[in-house]
Structures are given as structure tokens and as C-alpha cells.
Chain length 555, copies 2
């Protein structure tokens, strides 16, 4: 019964059990901790020593102070906080955290820093929490970096039942910065609609784990909830209901809410496929609209694709993309480009006429260049799904960002073509897999991307597998994705959290972290999410959550 694997597991679990810093998620790049107990003073304050500090930084500080009061998170050990009662007896109290900016330039707001080019976005910070009760110091080169540091500071503390907020491992020194500039979460609001409140709650949760991009797949074949100035007929006729829409003021609200939390909103209008709903207002622009049997014209119902060979449709689409992208402050905007069905165009008489001897690929090239130049005229960088570079022969600007979704095996092929890429592979990051098939009248139907992708599967992903050093530089980061054929406000939180936090740490801290050490921290994160009103699920029986390592395969 004394096998080395087991002994190893137990040693690990012990170290995890006595390590409250295991509450940090994502793990900082550099972390050193001591063994001194330290409390937050009842008068604890956070002071911004920054001239002309932007308003959103002050608001972030206020949120942090509020969470330090309200989280009331007991440590996950047998006995919970009572296990720490003796350790914190007579512990010193820290009264102040100061925030300081390096450099003398007038600081930009978090919102401004949140949308600068990925290559030059500054999210790093240093944090020092002394053990003697003297002032803690958070420093960064940008207000965005200070915001990331506040998020870390919030995770350092536990609470007991007597009102004490404490850590057991002062002094704490952290020097942190993300391994990858893009850490995202994709939400589909077209298969089923999500009220603004659900999106804001999701943005909060994302910010707690330093995710910096909401990839908003806002419209699709089933519904068009986005109210686009100049194109309001699309949502008027294509939304599920008059109230199931995102008005321009809703979008401004979401974008500013996100930006104040260090999150860039990368919106997508998928073209030329996945556009059936546009036929409600503009039948003239859509081929094979709701054609049956749908399986011959699309990967899911309803069928319908923009008439990519029609000059009128190209003009309409380019103007729509320009108008829609103008609603967002992000430098990135996605034109999609996935799952184009050739049969839809073959069967469409008008498209056959419009092609006028050109091939489908030539027409797609013309179509895409029109939408992408509209984006560039708007100061935006195009984002596309992988088919646009792997299955089609489309001319794209070098700075185009490609999202790899079909399979992680396709990453190398995209990198070989020299494009920057985002990991979004269904075999690692799709949150909807494993939920069973949703198509009707199909008793034996299972999820097309079975099995369910556990957090451990996503967490073990290697972002640079099979890439040369030069190709590895093209990897911007990655994200979890939630397609919502079987999701709505009812299960948004449970489907997304805490699983989506696994890619947040993978792309912030970097790959190769220890899964067995990560689980206790992820439990802690899930409990903290619940304390903050996000319904993250239990990953294990609570018996396991209270005993790090005890439910490991080899324990």
C-alpha cells in the first residue's frame, strides 16, 4: 500500500492545504510568500498616489474595498476558519494599501488602456504586502496594471466567523504580467438571448480572473438582437422579441462596463454564412433562406447565407459591418467566415447569375476584401474563423487575427501561413460539448463535440505544440467559448464557471502548471464566485474540496 505515486500526492496535498495563496487565480508569474499571519485593519484603506487619477481607477478601488468586506470567504480546510483561529491570534494588522504609477505622464483611464493594441497593452504590476503591518504597495506602468493588481490583492484574504480578514503568509511579494496578451471568453447571444444584466455579471466574473476580451458572437442565423444604426430593420424583424435586443445605449453600457474592468469587447457579425435571419428584413440579400431540408444547406437550422456574389449585397454587408463596428471601441472586429455551405450557392439561381463565370472562391475573395476594407477604413483589425485561411483562398491583410476552432490540430497550419492566431479549439475550449444533441427527433443524438471538456482538459493544453519559435510568437492567446443552442440565462453561470477560468490561468500564467496543485485554488475561486453572486458549480463533493489531494486518482 506504500506506492510512491500516492506518497507524492499526499505531500503535494499537504503543501496545498497549508497554502492559502492557493486562493490566487490566475497564479502570478512571480510569487513569494512568508508564514506570518496578518489581518486587515478594521480601518483598512486603499490610497491612490497618482496625480489626476482617472475616475474608473477610483471606482475599481471602491469595488475592491467592498469585496474585502463582503466576500466573507472561509478557507477550504477541515474546520474552515476555526482551523486558523490560533494562527491569527495577536496577528498584526495592515491599515493601508497604496497604488503608485511608474512614469510621470498623465495617466490614461483603465478603459483607455483596456483597448490599446494587444502588442503594447500593459497589464503587469508588482505588489508587496509586508508582514509587520506597514503599508502595502501596488505599482504598475498603467492604470490597467493597477487594476490587475487590485484583483490579485482581493484574493489574498480569508475571513473567519468573528469578522477577521486575514492571510497566513505575509510577507507577500508578487511581480506579475500575462504570458499571452489575449485571454478571452466567447458568448453567443443569438441562439438564445441574454439580458444585459447577465452579460455584466459575466464581465465581472471575467475580470476576477483577468480575462481581457469578451468575444461577443452577437448575431447568427437564428436571431439578430443587435440594433445597428441605419440597419434597425434587422433587429426589428430579426430579434426574438422587441425586448430581446441590444440597443446602441445597451452596447455603450456593456462596452464601458467592460472597459472599466480591463475588458475589450470584440464583436462579431458572422458572414457570409450564419446569416439566415437577415432575410427577414432583406430577402434580396440571402440565398437558401430557411431552405429545407436544412441539413443540405447549413450545419444547423435555419439555412441562409448572404449572396456573396451580388454587388448590392456586398455593398449592404460592407456598410453593415462598418456601422456595427462603429458601436464598439475595440480595435478588433470579427467578420466570421465559418461553415460556408457551397450547396446553398449552387442551388441559388441569383448567385449563379451574379458569379458571371467567376468561381465561388473568387467571389468570396471580393466579398471579404470589401468587408475588411470597410473595417480598416474604420480603424479596425479584422478577425476571422480558421476556414478563411485553411479552406478558402482569400486575400487577407497580414495583421488579420485567425481563430482556430475546428481542431487544435489546425493551429500549425494557420501559423505556417504567418497569421496571428487565437486558440479557440472545440477539442479543448468549447463549453457546450457533452450536453447531448439538441436537434429534434433524434433520440440517439449526442453532442457533436463529445466528450464534455473538463477544466483539466483545457488547463493541460499546450499553446505552442508543434510550432517553431517564430510561429509561437503568432499565438496571441486563447479563450473558452459558449455556443448557446442549449444555454440561456438559466445555465450561463453553471456552464461557464469555474471551467472558463482554466484558460484564463493557462494564458495568463502560462502552460505546464500542476493540475493537482491547481484544483484547490480552483475550488477556492468557485466558492469566491458564489460569494459574489456568480453561480460557479461544485467541481467535487465538498469533502474533497476541504481535503486537497484526497480525491485525486492516486490518493
Amino acid at each position: 500500500m506504500l506506492n510512491p505515486t500516492r506518497t507524492f500526492a499526499i505531500l503535494i496535498s499537504l503543501s496545498a492545504a497549508i497554502n492559502p495563496a492557493s486562493a490566487l487565480w490566475p497564479l502570478p508569474k512571480q510569487l513569494s510568500t512568508g508564514t506570518t499571519a496578518l489581518k486587515l485593519s478594521s480601518h483598512f484603506d486603499i490610497r491612490i498616489t497618482v496625480r489626476d487619477a482617472p475616475r474608473d481607477l477610483q471606482e475599481a478601488v471602491d469595488r475592491t474595498k467592498s469585496r474585502l468586506q463582503k466576500d466573507k470567504l472561509e478557507r477550504l480546510v477541515v474546520g474552515r476558519s476555526s482551523a486558523d483561529a490560533r494562527a491569527i491570534q495577536g496577528a498584526r494588522s495592515i491599515g493601508l494599501l497604496t497604488l503608485a504609477l511608474d512614469g510621470s505622464a498623465k495617466p490614461r483611464s483603465i478603459a483607455q488602456e483596456a483597448v490599446v493594441d494587444l502588442g503594447s497593452r500593459s497589464e503587469g504590476y508588482t505588489l508587496h504586502v509586508p508582514s509587520d503591518g506597514s503599508t502595502a504597495v501596488l505599482r504598475a506602468n498603467s492604470t490597467l496594471g493597477l487594476f490587475r493588481g487590485l484583483t490579485t490583492f482581493e484574493q489574498l484574504w480569508y475571513d473567519d466567523l468573528h469578522g477577521a480578514t486575514y492571510t497566513l503568509e505575509a510577507p507577500i511579494d508578487i511581480a506579475d504580467a500575462p504570458a499571452y496578451p489575449y485571454r478571452g471568453f466567447m458568448l453567443d447571444t443569438a441562439r438564445n438571448f441574454f439580458p444585459v444584466s447577465d452579460i455584466k455579471r459575466t464581465l465581472d466574473a471575467m475580470s476576477w480572473v483577468k480575462i481581457n476580451t469578451l468575444h461577443w458572437h452577437v448575431v447568427d442565423s437564428q436571431s439578430f438582437p443587435l440594433v445597428v444604426p441605419g440597419f434597425t430593420e434587422l433587429s426589428a424583424k430579426g430579434a426574438y422579441s422587441p425586448s430581446s435586443v441590444y440597443s446602441p445605449s445597451d452596447v455603450r453600457d456593456i462596452v464601458s462596463y467592460a472597459a472599466a474592468r480591463g475588458i475589450d469587447v470584440l464583436a462579431e457579425i458572422d458572414t457570409p454564412g450564419h446569416t439566415s435571419v437577415i432575410s427577414k428584413a432583406h430577402p434580396e440579400h440571402v440565398a437558401c433562406a430557411e431552405a429545407k431540408p436544412w441539413a443540405q444547406f447549413a450545419n444547423e437550422p435555419p439555412a441562409g447565407q448572404l449572396r456573396l456574389a451580388s454587388p448590392a449585397t456586398i455593398d449592404f454587408t460592407a456598410k453593415l459591418i462598418k456601422a456595427a463596428s462603429s458601436l464598439f471601441t475595440s480595435k478588433l472586429f470579427s467578420t466570421g467566415g465559418d461553415e460556408i455551405n457551397a450547396n446553398c450557392y449552387t442551388q441559388d439561381a441569383q448567385t449563379q447569375t451574379d458569379l458571371a463565370g467567376r468561381t465561388f472562391e473568387q467571389a468570396l475573395d471580393t466579398f471579404t476584401q470589401a468587408t475588411h476594407s470597410a473595417l480598416r477604413d474604420n480603424g479596425k483589425t479584422p478577425v476571422v474563423w480558421e476556414e478563411m485561411v485553411l479552406e478558402h483562398n482569400v486575400t487577407l491583410s497580414n495583421n488579420t487575427v485567425v481563430m482556430v476552432w475546428i481542431s487544435s490540430d489546425h493551429v500549425a497550419a494557420v501559423a505556417q501561413k504567418g497569421y496571428r492566431l487565437v486558440h479557440a479549439a472545440s477539442d479543448f475550449f468549447y463549453l457546450d460539448c457533452g450536453g447531448g444533441g439538441w436537434v429534434g427527433d433524434f433520440p440517439s443524438g449526442n453532442s457533436w463535440c463529445d466528450p464534455f471538456k473538463t477544466w483539466q482538459k483545457s488547463y493541460s493544453f499546450n499553446p505552442t505544440a508543434n510550432l517553431t519559435d517564430d510561429q509561437a510568437k503568432l499565438v496571441l492567446g486563447g479563450q473558452h467559448l459558449l455556443w448557446t443552442e442549449q444555454s440561456g440565462p438559466q445555465n450561463l453561470d453553471p456552464v461557464a464557471w469555474p471551467r472558463a477560468a482554466s484558460s484564463a490561468e493557462l494564458f495568463w500564467t502560462g502552460p505546464g502548471q500542476d493540475i493537482e496543485k491547481a484544483l484547490p485554488r480552483l475550488h477556492d475561486l468557485a466558492y469566491r464566485f458564489n460569494a459574489r453572486g456568480v453561480r460557479a458549480i461544485a467541481l467535487q463533493p465538498q469533502w474533497c474540496a476541504l481535503r486537497p489531494g484526497a480525491c485525486d486518482l492516486t490518493a
Copy 2:
């Protein structure tokens, strides 16, 4: 493009689209509907024409009247209620529903009727809703039957945005009764704890689809939340926290709340396996308690089984079972009996001594007869998991109820032994399957019972497959089951609903119903659940929910 399958699907979907009675779930045994629009009068009332009507019947009537006001459910068609505006113009209004009991005996309460023997429980009713606005009549032989009828009546109506509550298909005549007497839902409150409020909300949801049994797997190896008079040390030392318990008054509250909703609470204390937590208070009664590596002693951590060969432990267990079963009004109580690990006993010196030459099977027989006679002394009928009859040679009374969980292929073997059985097979009814493995440090771990069991899979189950007519009579019914290694209050509703309603209809209406016709009704049910505060998930994009049949495989 004109294939017969597709044409068939479209015809079906049309009939479904024009059939609001598709909101009924479960479908009544006999249903005839007309095509006349009928509204509920703003003065609509429900009158009980029963002498000495029990209080819980009046309370059920009040809940029904409240839901008729508050559901505000618009019909799921394109345009929602506006599609019916013309149809309900000038429609007559019904002002009264009367409830009448057949027979002259003093009526028993719903709570009393809810716990009578399954063989003689009376849940049938007739309901007539005339089209001319005259009084509707609900008749039954029991208050429980009247309650089931009220549940049906609540589902007949839709709302529009102008305050009208209406049906489009008066007159409506229903003669209804369940195909099977046992229709259950199992909840595990030991892997993770569920507050009383979650259990009550689940009981409400169960009652809305005429589920009549809560199989409460209340304790297990991980925690012992049940406060048992005389054995309070078990919950004091074995609950996750002092507040994570069900006190005797909590249990009384849950049992009476359930009974008033026609639900019997079948509690389970699993023995001799799945009892590790008992070692916290009584180490003397538990073999291999938390032994490592756990995988050698149990199917999941922590290991630990009652010392079934010890006279002291047998006496302790029999008294515990008697005391625990006394908390419940049900005639049924489960002693479990699944997943007994032989190695645990082989390695336990005391058990080897206690066996004193007897075989393990002989000891298990003695142990089980002690617990079961304690139940019979208490007027209870024992319930066990399938291993007790298929893997062990235990003497059981003929009226013992056996739950088949490992595989539906084992049903015939249980029936051949002549035991009454409940369908609870993991390959059809386990709600936790497909969620990925939960054991730690196991990146490639998937759900042991992959894939996810869709509602369509459960709905297509045949309860009497491979059974003779005589064996078929032994089938009491079936249930969905929620084991909670990866569930808690956060995802209880989304994991359970509306999937668990599929077995509710299967065992009420009977097998062989049309899956394609059922989907629109199940969508309606899910929307109604949400209107009532139960977070049932979306089974499809709303585009599909509004277009019955349009998202079928062959549409």
C-alpha cells in the same frame, strides 16, 4: 428534395403548432379537445363542492388560482400571443371550476392519500371544460386525484400581453390516471449539501409534472446531514458544517410540504457501504475508514463500510435505521446495499474475527435481515439497490422493492427473481452523466457513464422490454436520479429540468409516445417552469422553440 421523411415531419410539426394542448405535461391518458377559443373570466373562481374538504386541498386550489394569474406564459409560436389575438376576440369567458369527489366517505387529505400503498394510491381524475363558458368540472375518487387534475387545469391556459388568459381548444375533456404508480426523482444531498429551500423548490417542480416520489439519498460516505434523534452525534461530527444539516423539524417541514403536493418521501440510508462518515462519531463500527489508496477500498473517496459481521454494529445500524425511518411518513425506506467492496472487509482484522468462519455473504444476510426487520417493526417496506438481489445471496421479503441502477439490461434478472422494481438505470436516467470526470489529477477523465442522457433518450425507454406479462406487473415505475459530485444549489435546476420531466411523462402517460410531438410540449413546460422560478434550461435555440419540428433532424 421531396423526401417522405421530411414531408412527414412537416405535417407533424404543423399539427403541433396549432395545438396549444401541447402545453400539457404529462399528456393525459385520454384527451379530447375542440377548436373554440375560451377565456378565463377576471372573476374566475374554483369552488370545492366537497364536505369537510381538507385544508391542503383548499391550499392547492389557492396555489392554482395564483398560478393562473402569475404564469403569464405566452404561447410558443412566431409572434407569440399576438398570433392568437384574432382568435380570442369575442371569446366567451369561463367563470368557475368546481371540484367534486366521488363517494361519500369523509375525504382524506392530499397528504394522507400521497402515502397510501402504491398499489391502492388513487391519482386519477376527470376534467371537463365546456366551450360555452359554463362551469368546468373536475371529479376524482380522492383529494390526490383532484390535486392532479388541478395541475392539469393550470397547464391549459396561455396569456397575452393584454391580460387575457385563454385556450384555443375548448371544449376539453380529460380522463386521466397514471400508467405506473411510482414516478420519482432522486436527489443526493450528501456529496454536496442542498438547503431546504432548494428541496422545496424541487418538490414544487416535481408536483407540476405529477412526480409522486422524492427518493432522498440523504447521507453517504462524504457527509451525514440528517439529524437522527438518538444518533445526533452522526450529523454533529459528519455534516459539512453545523448549518449544513436537516433537523427533525426540517424533515417534518419537507415531508409535509411534499405530501401536500402529492409526493411521498422515500428516504435512504445506504448500508453497509457508503458509510465512511459514520466513522467520525463511531470509528468502532466502520471498516477501512478513509483507507488509502481509496480506489482499493471503494468506488469513490472516502472509503469506509459498516462492520457488517459485528453484532454491536448490526445492533447500532438496525436502531439507526429504525430511528431514521421514524422521521418519515412514507411506507418505503431504503437501506441501499450498492457497491459493497470486498477488499475493505478482507483487510479489516476485526471483520475477519467477527466472521468467525462465516462467509461474507452469510454475514451480509444476517446484517440485512436485522435492518429490514427493524423497518418492518416500524411498518415500513424495505427498498434496496439491485446488487442485493443480483450480486448477493440475501434473504429478502417478497414485498421488497428493488431499484435497478447499473444497467437497464439487469431489469429482467431482477424481475425473474419476482421482486417489484423501479427503473433507475444509469444508461437512461442518470442526470450526472456526461459532465466529465470529477476525480482529481486526471486530465483525461470523462464521466463514467458517458454520454449525457438526453431527455429523448430517457423518453424513449421501454419499461417492459424483455419482460413477460407477469414480470411486467412487477414494474412499479421509474425515476431520474441526480448524484451530486458535481452539483449543488448552483446547478440543481439546470441539471434536472426539464430533463427529469421526460421520465415523469414516460411513467404517467406510458411508453411509446411520439418524441417529435413531445418536444414542443417540453419547451412549453420549460418556459412555464421559468415563469414559476425554476431555472429549466433551453433545449434548443428559441428559433426552434417557436417553430415546432423546424429543427428536427429530417426537417
